[in-house]
């Protein structure tokens, strides 16, 4: 520990102070954080090798259960509110896909955040010079959920080739767009739910409600639900936009109105959840007191 040695440069803080460089600088910073977290998560796949095998087994069991369920139902009927068996298979694929993306980063990060609020480690997130919502949303990556994403993609491709409707380029673009919107809507919703942990510390299983709704109700086209329930599943707990609307796009039954409202709703949900996030932070730090 001799001081004479030339060591690292400890005098300078960040060369560009975070917060400077305007909006473009902020976005660049955010993207860099996002990239670092995601790439590290995937690089650390090896840490979870046994979990990875397990999640393959689990995905196969879940898929088999759902296909078996479909076959039982379609042994008694030929269509479910206008959806044929392969249409529903596409929907199951989309459900897997969205669920996989949520399980990859959104849910584990939100669980970690709620745990952090309970244990006090969330403070470390707040003292970092970056967007707190971004940090909280990407802090944990669970790469084994990629299995669900891949299974979902496979099932979607298989289902789409069996569905009679032919997909145009426009349909594909619309499908991708609605998928993205669906993800944004669901992410915003989960964020808002988790944010409530600032008020109710023992809230870790509020996500369970969503998970259960998403897992059970999300596997079916929202059109089979009676009126009030359909409204709940579309706007209050937006499972419909996450799964049904992209599936409609993929099976060639999407109306332009639905596509536009999906985009509008995604923006609305995102803005609202972000507002709520900062509102909760102000309360957490006692700014409103």
């Amino acid at each position: 520990m001799t001081g004479g040695r030339v060591g690292a440069d400890w005098t300078s803080g960040p060369r560009v102070a975070p917060g400077e460089g305007g909006l473009a600088g902020l976005v660049r910073h955010d993207l860099r954080i996002l990239r670092t977290y995601l790439s590290l998560g995937v690089l650390n796949l090896v840490q979870y090798r046994s979990d990875f095998v397990l999640s393959v087994v689990n995905a196969v069991i879940t898929l088999a259960t759902q296909v078996l369920g479909l076959s039982v139902i379609f042994s008694r009927t030929t269509d479910l509110a206008g959806w044929g068996v392969y249409d529903l298979l596409v929907l199951i694929g989309v459900h897997f896909l969205i669920g996989g993306v949520l399980g990859l980063v959104v849910r584990p990060s939100m669980e970690a955040m709620m745990e952090g609020i309970r244990l006090g480690t969330f403070d470390f997130t707040l003292v970092k010079p970056a967007d707190s919502q971004l940090l909280a949303s990407v802090q944990v990556v669970r790469p084994q959920a990629l299995v669900d994403v891949l299974v979902g993609l496979g099932v979607v491709v298989f289902g789409v080739t069996r569905v009679q409707a032919s997909l145009s380029v426009v349909d594909v673009v619309l499908s991708l767009l609605t998928l993205l919107c669906g993800l944004v809507v669901v992410y915003s919703f989960i964020l808002a739910l988790s944010t409530m942990a600032f008020w109710f510390v023992r809230l870790d299983n509020v996500l369970v409600i969503f998970q259960s709704l998403f897992g059970e109700a999300g596997r079916w086209p929202v059109t089979i639900f009676p009126g009030w329930l359909r409204i709940v599943l579309t706007f209050a707990v937006p499972v419909a936009f996450a799964v049904t609307v992209p599936s409609e796009a993929l099976t060639g039954r999407l109306s332009l109105t639905s596509a536009l409202s999906a985009a509008g709703l995604a923006l609305l949900f995102f803005a609202a959840s972000r507002w709520f996030w900062f509102f909760a932070l102000r309360r957490y730090t006692g700014a409103s007191a």
């Binding site: 977290y37 802090q139 007191a289």
Partner: protein
């Protein structure tokens, strides 16, 4: 300009109250009682750049609340503070980028990934240029002997190793202000010493200003010339460590070594020390005496016994602090 300026800081919490048991649990369904807790009351101080200040007080004195306000995690109920020219709770990223908060009981490194990967996340968050990042990791791992640890997942590290990695990770962005909340808690003595000397070295190399809370007085004695003491949320003392001892220690200890196997008669000894409790050792004894009477008692002992050595000591810092808190809690509770 001072690094930290705090003026009339005040924080009040509302906490719900409930008693144990089934009946109380059912009762709480109906009505909730809340109580106001004054965690910090009218605290003010100033800290200069490069200073290392010990922040002392018993559990629940308001130390952590104050540190949380200074690191921008909590808004005060009233009062002002300025750290490096920023109001901490505005949470300006330029401030957060120059500050570090290290809590001994809490982890921020990710559990499942190697330490170095957690550092890379910090690099992205704090926008640390690659060259600086490499140089600082190298230097910190030399100072703290981290070389072997950086590639292991955090879950495989021991408590002490984890703390070293935590500290290094929190310093990669070369913070100008450090808040250390019990950084050595639960660590063994060697590891405590290592972390202590590291903090001193970091302070020396970077001129960063450090605020430290610790239950281990050895930490405070080794690192802090100045201490700030709070109790029941109020500032009790702000000044040099020796001054604290001088002001609050009412007693001194006289250690006496006797020349030969002198048959020490309890009655004689009792008379010499005015009947005070005496702690016998193999070759002598020690006795605690009020400061003012120390010269008189020492003179009497020297005259009355075959003394080979006599030392007058200040009491250990722990017992002084203990006295401070005891005295003031009586005062506060009584009033």
């Amino acid at each position: 300009m001072s690094a930290i300026t705090v003026d009339r800081l005040h924080k009040t919490y509302l906490v719900p109250e409930r008693e144990g048991g089934l009946r109380a649990a059912v009762g709480a369904l109906v009505r909730r009682r809340r109580r106001e807790v004054h965690a910090v009351t009218d605290v003010g101080f100033t800290i200069e750049p490069g200073e290392v200040v010990g922040f002392l007080g018993p559990n629940g004195a308001g130390k952590t609340t104050t540190l949380k306000m200074l690191s921008g995690l909590l808004h005060p109920t009233s009062g002002t503070a300025s750290v490096l020219g920023h109001v901490p709770w505005e949470r300006d990223r330029r401030y957060l980028g120059q500050m570090a908060l290290i809590m001994g009981q809490r982890n921020q490194l990710q559990w499942d990934i190697p330490v170095l990967d957690s550092y890379r996340l910090n690099q992205a968050v704090f926008r640390i240029p690659d060259a600086d990042f490499k140089a600082r990791v190298a230097e910190l791992s030399e100072l703290l002997a981290l070389e072997e640890l950086l590639r292991k997942p955090v879950r495989n590290l021991s408590l002490g190793e984890r703390m070293k990695c935590e500290i290094a990770g929190s310093l990669l962005h070369a913070p100008q202000v450090l808040f250390l909340d019990e950084p050595t808690i639960g660590l063994d003595v060697a590891m405590q010493r290592r972390i202590r000397s590291f903090v001193a070295e970091y302070n020396r190399r970077t001129g960063a200003c450090v605020m430290l809370t610790s239950h281990y007085m050895a930490d405070v004695e080794a690192l802090c010339r100045r201490v700030i003491v709070i109790h029941h949320g109020r500032l009790l003392f702000d000044g040099a460590l020796e001054e604290l001892v001088h002001r609050f220690a009412g007693d001194k200890t006289i250690n006496v070594e006797l020349a030969d196997e002198h048959p020490l008669d309890p009655a004689t000894l009792g008379a010499l020390v005015d009947g005070r409790a005496v702690e016998r050792s193999a070759t002598g004894f020690s006795v605690r005496v009020p400061k003012a009477e120390t010269p008189r008692v020492a003179a009497r002992l020297l005259a009355g016994l075959p003394v080979s050595d006599l030392v007058i000591e200040e009491p250990p810092i722990e017992s002084v602090i203990e006295q401070v808190f005891e005295a003031t809690s009586v005062e506060v509770d009584g009033g």
